[in-house]
Subunit: 345 residues, 2 copies
């Protein structure tokens, strides 16, 4: 079933408003959740609504947070999210980072006491669509990875998103530092598929290929110790530096509904016009894009895609055709709606 993105936003906003969020906040969270679905990050969009509602009801989220800047020096700011929705915290961060970067060239905006903010690419892309470079780092919301050489799950998939403006469209990288994000493991389990070797190992270091039997197993970082290094450093920058959780104090957001996660994120914005003409930068990004996509192909490939091409193409299609809503999810969403007398999808 296809649902128009505008209809989906209205629906999500109505549910969140009924669950106690102020009207404007509900609309903003809905907009940013649907933005993830539009970009094809289906596991980070409306799919999360039932979990968010469970947390709201258990007291794990603050529905009416006082999101405020608690430290400010020059081009840097630290936001305390007061345990509100991560989307709202990142919305404040994007707005502030854009303001600061236009003035100072660069902005570094950290967040603590935040929460899951959906797809990091959504926030980095907003900066790129405003003509800025956006970099987003986060501590993920459940530890599924061991340090390199160890077996205890002390790290998450700590993702990075980087977006730069282009002439035709932005280039948008949004990736976990693990070979596979944990959502892909759950998806394989749902579909009854096995995992390729290289995604996970068990506590003895053997490859795990059965996605229904991964208890205690570790996701594998990209490039072995390199991916571990990236996940660790992103954890220091997005978590430790902001006074947010990183390491064993990370709350498993999917297993615990009532503890504050103290999620940490950082957003860095840079204004290319500080170094020259934005138009010239956009043109040069596209010149590099044409070089890359114009390379002769490796056998077995039929095209070269830049990061974000698939996501931005999906967004164009989904804005026009609507967002595919699987039946199981539709049933869960309509169940929530029925409790509040909201029209079903």
């Amino acid at each position: 079933m296809l649902v128009a993105s505008g209809r989906m936003k209205v629906f999500v906003a109505a549910v969140l408003f009924a669950e106690g969020l102020p009207k404007d906040d509900a609309a903003k969270v809905a907009e940013l959740m649907v933005a993830a679905d539009l970009l094809g990050a289906d596991g980070h969009g409306v799919f999360r609504l039932p979990r968010y509602v469970a947390r709201l009801r258990a007291g794990g989220f603050n529905p009416r947070p006082d999101i405020r800047v608690v430290s400010r020096r020059g081009a840097s700011a630290l936001i305390d999210g007061d345990n509100g929705f991560g989307h709202l915290v990142m919305d404040s961060a994007v707005t502030l980072a854009e303001d600061i970067a236009r003035d100072q060239g660069v902005a570094w905006v950290g967040a603590r006491m935040s929460n899951h903010a959906g797809a990091g690419g959504v926030h980095a892309l907003r900066l790129a669509e405003a003509g800025l470079v956006g970099i987003y780092l986060a501590v993920g919301n459940a530890n599924h990875m061991a340090p390199w050489g160890g077996i205890e799950l002390l790290l998450s998939t700590n993702p990075i998103a980087i977006a730069v403006p282009g002439q035709s469209e932005p280039v948008l990288l949004d990736m976990a530092t693990t070979v596979a994000a944990y959502g892909k493991v759950k998806l394989a389990a749902d579909r009854g598929e096995s995992m390729p070797e290289g995604w996970m190992i068990d506590r003895e270091g053997n490859p795990l290929t059965d996605p229904t039997n991964v208890e205690g197993g570790s996701l594998m970082p990209i490039g072995g110790p390199k991916g571990f290094g990236l996940a660790l450093m992103f954890g220091f920058l997005a978590g430790t530096l902001n006074g947010a959780a990183f390491g064993s104090d990370v709350i498993d957001f999917n297993a615990d509904d009532d503890s504050a996660t103290n999620t940490g994120q950082v957003l860095i914005a840079f204004d290319p016009s500080a170094f020259g003409s934005l138009a010239a930068f956009r043109a040069q990004v596209d010149a590099v894009r044409r070089e890359m996509t114009g390379s002769a192909l490796r056998p077995g490939f039929d095209e070269i895609r830049l990061p974000g091409e698939r996501a931005l193409g999906l967004r164009r299609a989904r804005l026009q055709d609507g967002i595919q809503l699987p039946n199981g999810l539709r049933g869960r969403l309509n169940g929530l709606a029925a409790e509040h007398g909201i029209d079903p999808l």
Copy 2:
């Protein structure tokens, strides 16, 4: 043969002075070159001196550059390196980034018309040793990687270095975005060893394992398309954004001695004291370090090491015992020295 690091610095500085660098510049480049050797980045230290001298003599380097800030807005600055040694450009960038970050919380300092600057970790580490977070990105000095799905060599190993201050010592990640840096391929060739599958592919996409026969082959990015994405975005940030080379305009520094490389780098510094107590941050970095290194081990591993542990351990040892100088390199260095009547090593 072991050479004391102080002796090595004096030697390198004498050669560079004899080749036309001002005395202070020669000493600074020597210090930063030897700093790479001390950290175990042997392929980025004094090993490079013969190539640097060849470029100086061919007019490829400007021995007396006017390194200056050409754009400045708030917490951001763009440096034009005037085709001088990358070490001098990064020395200016580190000094400026530190000043700006103490004042503004964050600094973003880009560089164009720079050159090979040795090991990126050296520059990031200087910031961490000053109590700041340091992030360094660069466009590498020769294209050895194809875009994901392609076969044309349009990207370098575009590295990232990130350093954070700790209590006991900094944590320092310094890595290429490829599975193996190109230097490891050359080292395997020197040693008559084969390469493991996964380092390189040929133009048909087959694994390359003979390091003496890699013409036209591509290094493999970490995590497949993810590593390509990182290399690409780092190229935009360190190259395109600064008006520096990225893509087909990258000069192969090892094959061309007389063209300016227009190398691009970017250094981001952040002052943890802008968000709270630096001492508390240092302590928390060490708490996370203890958690990670204290994890139960995966079979086959006898320890868990954080990024930079090996490098900082080597530096302690080499400061005390000296730096190992292979005979071949020693011969080449002494050959240069003899031309100027400098005492041999």
